[in-house]
């Protein structure tokens, strides 16, 4: 099957972001935390993307920021999906009290404003990247749980699942061989978005003082640091915002492509 152009663009860009994130230390022209220039300088040959609110090189911070942003967002989204989807499928296939307990527990977590949860959890636990990823992953897993349960409930009443049950297949077999392939499309679509929400969520936490510790930084945090210059068209705030948008679009282009692949894999007519 020929890869469409949009998917190719998405793959190349995503790959580029990953490359930058991995090799940040070698690529960044300046250190992440030293104020090398004036405040909010415009892009020049010395500072290719200008300088930020205290005169640090934007390009270097973007490059180092890619590392934290992509790593934390990816790790927490993967955690959220593994946890949320599996529990959601289990709830849907088992039904009965398992479903009730899991669903109400998730409702409980989701019903409490996440600001309060984040504040309480993060001010009680030590603040480091692992805790951050865990907290974000678990909070997000509740959203994934609801979606995957909703999708799976529809699938469990299908004839082929019934047939598998009658054949005497186990719960694991049904989840991974029957439900997962058939629920993949909405989940993949959701993953692309959850990843972006994770990027934005880190910045919200940074805003509360609970996010990434300096001297490290993330893109959302960079937008926030420089937000007052935004309406005056300074690159300091625009560049990280554009980086987030570019990452969002390329990851979702890839997700769209996988989506169309999974549809065709199932023997449907594809797209």
């Amino acid at each position: 099957m020929k890869m469409p152009l949009s998917a190719l663009i998405g793959l190349v860009l995503t790959g580029l972001f990953l490359f930058v994130a991995i090799f940040a230390q070698f690529l960044a022209p300046y250190p992440i935390d030293s104020a090398v220039g004036g405040v909010w300088e415009s892009p020049s040959s010395t500072y290719l993307l200008g300088t930020d609110t205290i005169g640090r090189d934007i390009l270097s911070r973007l490059i180092y920021g890619a590392q934290v942003t992509i790593f934390v967002a990816a790790a927490s989204s993967i955690l959220a999906f593994s946890l949320g989807a599996i529990l959601g499928f289990v709830a849907a296939t088992k039904g009965g009290w398992v479903d009730q307990v899991l669903s109400r527990l998730v409702d409980l977590v989701m019903a409490i404003p996440s600001l309060i949860i984040a504040l309480v959890v993060l001010s009680v636990l030590p603040l480091n990247l692992t805790v951050l990823i865990l907290v974000m992953g678990v909070l997000d897993a509740t959203r994934v749980f609801r979606l995957s349960r909703a999708v799976a409930v529809d699938i469990t009443v299908m004839d082929y699942v019934e047939a598998a049950r009658l054949r005497g297949e186990g719960g694991g077999w049904i989840i991974f061989r029957e439900i997962l392939p058939n629920a993949l499309s909405p989940l993949v679509a959701e993953f692309g978005l959850r990843f972006i929400f994770a990027v934005l969520f880190i910045s919200t936490l940074s805003f509360l003082g609970l996010g990434i510790q300096p001297p490290l930084t993330d893109w959302g945090g960079m937008v926030k640091e420089n937000k007052d210059a935004l309406v005056y068209g300074k690159s300091a705030a625009l560049m990280p915002a554009m980086a987030i948008a570019a990452l969002a679009i390329s990851v979702n282009l890839v997700a769209d492509w996988i989506l169309s692949r999974t549809t065709s894999l199932k023997g449907g007519r594809g797209a």
Binding site: L115, V120, D154
Partner: protein, 318 residues
């Protein structure tokens, strides 16, 4: 009793139980946060003497359990009490702000939900062709903007370049309906931009997912137009995940829009909650938390019911 009605009754009962649990969890959580109301009010000017005096005045010297059950007793008799920080009547203070929260959410929801579903259907219809790509590209860029960035762009564009709206979106009792609409225009635009993509993409994905089923092929063979096939056959079968995501976003419009409220100075519940968490004003945090939880739980019950009613197979569980 009809099985659906029975289920609804069951869910409502469970929901009330859940509300109780939420109130307890919030109470424990805020209690666990370091600092208390007295410290938070006096802030930098706290002297031990003033702290002790204020704690006594607000009843903070009593054990936590006593305060929780006191609050619970109050709420069961319909008395939300008074705010610790400024002595305002909580029910009164919340009443107006809840109205504002619901007004904003309703405006944003009324625009974004139909628009998202329509765009999702169109994108699915033209899957892989340019309308699909255009819709996906635009919604993806709006969703990847942090909320405040979208808000600042809108402020810049619609209050400075083309000055047709005011940057501060406060609404007051006594304002007419159209006046209110004009005031909230900017936050509504921002919220629509923020929630549109999520619902639109889920609609598209869910429709595409059911498009390969055998009955869709049958419908196509019957000679129905692509849009008819999608609307009449694919959409009803894709409704569960769509409703699930729509509900998530509606709940978000009610409980999660603090940033937008702050930027536009909109006087609704989110900002109110954040202020009172910062001051550890438990009676207010509890009241708002329970309201938010109530909104969330009822929306979910609604979503489950819609999913069951829409899917004939779920209507008669085996």
């Amino acid at each position: 009793m009809h099985p659906v009605l029975k289920l609804v009754a069951q869910r409502i009962a469970l929901g009330l139980l859940l509300l109780l649990a939420v109130s307890a969890v919030i109470f424990l959580g805020v209690e666990a946060l370091p600092g208390d109301t007295a410290q938070a009010i006096l802030g930098q000017s706290a002297t031990p003497q003033a702290l002790a005096n204020l704690r006594e005045k607000m009843g903070l010297d009593q054990p936590a359990m006593v305060r929780y059950f006191h609050w619970l007793g109050g709420i069961l008799t319909g008395d939300l009490g008074k705010a610790l920080t400024n002595g305002q009547d909580i029910a009164q203070a919340i009443g107006q702000r809840l109205g504002n929260t619901l007004f904003l959410a309703a405006c944003a929801g009324a625009i974004s939900v139909p628009l998202a579903i329509l765009l999702g259907l169109v994108a699915a219809r033209y899957n892989g062709r340019w309308p699909d790509k255009l819709i996906s590209g635009i919604t993806l860029s709006t969703i990847s903007l942090p909320e405040f960035v979208a808000a600042y762009f809108v402020i810049y564009l619609l209050t400075q370049l083309i000055p047709i709206f005011n940057p501060v979106a406060m609404v007051f009792p006594g304002m007419g309906f159209w006046e209110k609409l004009h005031a909230v225009a900017l936050p509504v635009i921002v919220l629509v931009l923020v929630v549109l993509a999520h619902m639109m993409r889920m609609t598209r994905a869910a429709i595409l997912n059911v498009m390969q089923s055998a009955y869709i092929e049958t419908a196509e063979l019957k000679g129905l137009s692509p849009m008819q096939v999608i609307w009449r056959h694919a959409f009803p079968n894709a409704i569960a995940p769509i409703v699930s995501v729509v509900v998530l976003n509606l709940a978000y419009l009610v409980v999660g829009v603090v940033v937008v409220e702050v930027v536009f100075g909109y006087n609704a519940l989110g900002q109110f909650l954040v202020d009172h968490v910062a001051k550890r004003d438990l009676p207010v945090v509890q009241a708002v938390g329970v309201i938010f939880a109530g909104v969330y739980i009822s929306l979910n019950i609604l979503a489950d019911v819609i999913a069951i009613v829409a899917n004939p197979r779920l209507r008669h569980p085996r």
